[in-house]
């Protein structure tokens, strides 16, 4: 056994008669084994990092949403509620796209299959976000809104789902979260006009002051002058909460 062979073998346990014999006869390798061995062992002493509990929560949330999505795929379309139809269609489309790309993860990154595979991952994120936003439980819908941050901000379907949530969700918390989640869409060339208009149109539909203020802040941040008529209406409406009126006044000043 040569020195090179012995040194390579040492980290794999250094077993075998040849290895032992070589060490016996080679001082240089004995020294190397001792030095490198110590360093190798001390790697074990480095502090280990532990993930936060959020990782587990997010995983089970994702798994639950995925299983719900799967369950909706097995429902006959005739029996599906209208609002579930898009889920079935999306899931079926994904299934078709998914066929034959399984080996993609092992292939070269520049291959078209991998491009397709990434697209499918994006579609799955969309499916999870949309599925969760349709759930009965407010906490599930809140998670759906959180998932929307993981889709491309050019995704119109998710943006529309968020707008629907802002306008119709019974939970104030979910509506507030959806207002925040619309922000990325106002920065995307594909959706910014629609997203801005949606925020303007959402304002008169709101009756909860905290959500009204969130929308006003958003419009002020965007310096959205098209919102001025609606803001003026709020300022002059005596039935509107005084805090909201003041905020609308502030937003109008900021836009000038």
């Amino acid at each position: 056994m040569t020195c090179d062979q012995a040194r390579i073998q040492m980290l794999g346990g250094g077993e075998g008669k040849d290895f032992a014999e070589h060490l016996e006869s080679c001082e240089s390798c004995r020294s190397e084994v001792s030095r490198i061995g110590t360093l190798w062992q001390s790697l074990d002493l480095l502090p280990t990092e532990e993930p936060s509990g959020k990782v587990r929560d997010r995983f089970y949330e994702m798994l639950g949403a995925y299983r719900q999505g799967q369950a909706s795929m097995t429902m006959p379309v005739k029996q599906a509620r209208p609002k579930m139809v898009w889920q079935v269609a999306a899931a079926a489309a994904l299934l078709v796209v998914g066929l034959g790309i399984g080996y993609g993860v092992r292939e070269d990154r520049s291959r078209p299959e991998l491009v397709q595979l990434r697209e499918e991952v994006a579609s799955m994120r969309q499916l999870v976000a949309l599925s969760l936003m349709q759930q009965q439980s407010a906490s599930d819908r809140l998670r759906g809104v959180s998932w929307s941050y993981q889709v491309e901000p050019s995704d119109e379907e998710v943006m529309n789902a968020l707008v629907t949530t802002v306008n119709h969700d019974p939970s104030v918390n979910v509506r507030l979260a959806a207002v925040d989640a619309l922000r990325p869409f106002t920065g995307s060339p594909a959706t910014h006009v629609m997203a801005r208009n949606a925020v303007i149109q959402a304002l008169p539909k709101q009756t909860t002051p905290i959500v009204q203020v969130a929308l006003i802040d958003f419009l002020a941040e965007l310096k959205e002058r098209n919102a001025a008529p609606e803001l003026r209406r709020l300022v002059s409406d005596p039935d509107i909460d005084s805090g909201v009126r003041k905020r609308a006044e502030w937003a109008l000043e900021r836009m000038q």
Partner: protein, 181 residues
């Protein structure tokens, strides 16, 4: 994984409980960013779920999982427009906090400093050398599995592990010399 691949997706929970910590440590060792590492762990399990039918039960599950993890890391680095590079200063600061969080006898402090130095040496290793050490030492993977993940021969893995530990040794001693001067 074979059960998950066969449609029992709930069984992925068992794999998550078994592997999410090692995966997290792999990503933290590679990019030094806890938050990003948590996102990547999530991404790996998401991809495992999505591409479960591509899993071949004859293949090592660990190797398959780390292939997905490597791809997820590369995709993320590309998305961020950076290679998976550790911010050494941030990392060293955090290690220093870890060391100082549990003050003990002098030996402990000295050992803590040595470990901080070792950590710095790890962070300064070129990415491919750091990765092979992380996989073989921290993740305790067999050379055969690493060969599958990296797409090379087992013999090549052994040589690369040896070269990586030698490179680590050189960096470590250079840092030690720097500290002493």
């Amino acid at each position: 994984m074979a059960e998950v691949s066969g449609g029992q997706v709930a069984r992925l929970g068992v794999l998550f409980e078994r592997h999410h910590r090692p995966l997290f440590r792999y990503f933290v060792s590679m990019n030094g960013n806890r938050e990003l590492a948590e996102d990547l762990v999530q991404e790996v399990f998401f991809r495992m779920l999505r591409y479960r039918t591509s899993y071949d039960p004859a293949q090592s599950f660990t190797a398959w999982m780390y292939q997905i993890a490597r791809n997820a890391g590369v995709d993320q680095a590309r998305k961020r427009g950076t290679a998976q590079v550790v911010d050494i200063d941030t990392f060293v600061d955090r290690r220093a906090e870890l060391v100082s969080a549990s003050p003990g006898p002098e030996e402990s402090v000295s050992r803590g400093q040595d470990l901080a130095l070792l950590r710095r040496a790890m962070d300064q290793l070129p990415e491919e050398k750091r990765e092979i050490l992380v996989l073989s030492r921290f993740q305790g993977m067999k050379h055969e599995d690493i060969a599958e993940v990296l797409g090379c021969e087992v013999g090549t893995v052994k040589v690369r592990v040896y070269r990586a530990i030698r490179a680590l040794e050189q960096i470590y001693f250079a840092l030690e010399k720097e500290r002493a001067s």
